[in-house]
């Protein structure tokens, strides 16, 4: 379970999030929606523990958490790496050996198959389409079998067809597993199957219905 109790965050003198309280139960599909710069990414960074709140409390029960960030620190296409290498990075925290065990290899292969990108495993990142790249990022997050997965606008920069397929993949992922999914999106229709949707606006976070017409997306 994840709980935010009266959480506020300020950068220098500017208040970015104000008095946020929310609770997410295990296995829920949570949507987070809001305009550019509203504070969506800041909210999930607080949830993930990357940022510490200025006041209030963030409580997260123990469990393996994976994060698919909006952008990696590098331009993916120029990074000299293959699909299977990137996916295996999801197990990097657990591995301190020069050798990659058979168990890890099998886990990587299983994840690649589950995401439908097994045939791409030897391809370099620069040879992939935008949709395939996003699948690789999600596979990297899934390979460690997390109990919570946080996706920050994974559909950014994708064409309509790939976007639709990605949403289907995320929905079926949630339906098949008991994983908590926190999905940040610009588009209300992406969150049609969400159990709860939080709208971020002017530093305030409100729980809204997915079909609420007042949510301007």
């Amino acid at each position: 379970m994840i709980q935010l109790k009266n959480v506020s965050l300020s950068f220098q003198s500017e208040r970015v999030l104000s008095n946020v309280s929310l609770s997410i139960d295990d296995g829920q599909f949570i949507g987070i929606i809001g305009q550019n710069g509203a504070g969506k990414t800041t909210l999930i960074r607080l949830i993930l523990g990357i940022l510490k709140p200025t006041s209030g409390q963030v409580i997260r029960t123990k469990g393996n958490v994976s994060y698919v960030s909006q952008t990696t620190s590098l331009s993916d296409s120029s990074f000299p790496s293959s699909v299977e290498e990137i996916v295996s990075l999801g197990l990097a925290a657990k591995k301190r050996s020069p050798f990659f065990s058979r168990v890890c290899k099998t886990r990587v292969e299983e994840t690649l198959k589950a995401m439908g990108i097994f045939d791409l495993r030897k391809k370099l990142l620069g040879e992939l389409s935008g949709g395939q790249l996003q699948k690789v990022k999600i596979a990297k997050a899934l390979v460690s079998s997390p109990s919570v997965i946080v996706l920050d606008e994974p559909e950014a920069g994708m064409d309509e067809k790939s976007h639709g397929k990605l949403i289907e993949t995320i929905e079926s992922l949630h339906a098949k597993s008991k994983m908590t999914v926190i999905f940040v999106s610009h588009h209300k229709h992406d969150l049609a199957k969400a159990d709860r949707v939080f709208s971020v606006n002017n530093g305030k976070v409100l729980s809204v219905e997915g079909d609420d017409e007042n949510v301007p997306f």
Binding site: Y67, E85, L124, V150
Partner: protein
């Protein structure tokens, strides 16, 4: 050539550094911080000049200068994350300034041997220190290589995964600083940063995955060192400078040959 004990020492130290330098340097290149090597190399010169001027061991003062510099670079990188190259520029220019002033108090001949290196004049202590550094580099990347790769790919995702990003960055930076400081005498402060960049630049031309890009960088660095040292022996050139010129020639050949390789690959695929 190998009848001389001096040349055996030179080859031993050259081979160890040819592996150690690209190993620690590759991550700086991937982080778009190639100039960090340059900044550290210039600061190491300032350290050497201070050591020579004050009658202290230039090796020790150069190590201290490099470690202090990398701490300053990391501090500025964190403080001004949107201008991460700022720290490198600040350290590089102050390194040159300090080295310039301190050379007024040193004997020119002593200082010059650190500009292009004097691999033939390496002492036993320096050889042992390079062996220690080589082992530290290899062991660190053998056991933490995957975590370093994860941090290079995305610091935020690595942090969420439970990887100690700050510790990995600190260890990597310290190894880079030590490698540059200890390479200054052997290869030369002015050319050591080239050995960080050139082998990786060459291997990137081959468009391989992460593992093979690193392996090819190590191969190119090793070949450059062997060919460079051999050529410098017979042609009586400065060894460090000759190694760098060989590494540059390898890069030029690869850039010229690359379009043909791509065509051959495309033909095979079709």
């Amino acid at each position: 050539m190998f009848h001389s004990e001096i040349m055996l020492y030179a080859f031993a130290i050259g081979i160890l550094l040819s592996i150690a330098i690209p190993l620690v340097g590759s991550t700086a290149v991937y982080k778009r911080l190639s100039n960090t090597g340059d900044a550290l190399a210039h600061t190491s010169l300032a350290g050497v000049a201070v050591g020579l001027a004050c009658g202290l061991s230039p090796l020790v003062t150069s190590v201290i200068a490099c470690v202090a510099s990398i701490i300053i670079i990391e501090f500025i990188r964190k403080k001004f994350s949107k201008f991460s190259e700022l720290g490198t520029a600040v350290v590089l220019s102050s390194g040159i300034g300090l080295a310039g002033i301190m050379t007024s108090y040193t004997k020119a001949a002593n200082f010059d041997s650190y500009l292009f290196g004097s691999i033939l004049l390496i002492s036993d202590l320096e050889l042992y220190m390079v062996i220690g550094l080589f082992l530290a580099d290899v062991l660190f990347y053998a056991f933490f290589g995957r975590q370093v790769f994860a941090v290079v790919y995305s610091e935020e995702e690595a942090k969420v995964q439970g990887i100690r990003v700050s510790s990995i960055n600190l260890a990597q930076s310290l190894l880079l600083a030590l490698t540059i400081a200890l390479s200054a005498k052997a290869i030369g402060s002015l050319v050591v940063s080239s050995l960080i960049v050139l082998p990786i630049a060459s291997s990137l031309q081959l468009k391989k995955n992460y593992r093979w890009t690193l392996i090819w960088a190590l191969i190119f660095s090793f070949v450059s060192t062997i060919v460079g040292l051999t050529a410098s022996y017979y042609l009586n050139y400065k060894p460090g400078a000759t190694i760098v010129i060989v590494a540059t020639i390898i890069l030029i050949i690869l850039i010229v040959v690359k379009p043909f390789l791509v065509r051959i690959k495309a033909k095979k695929a079709s």
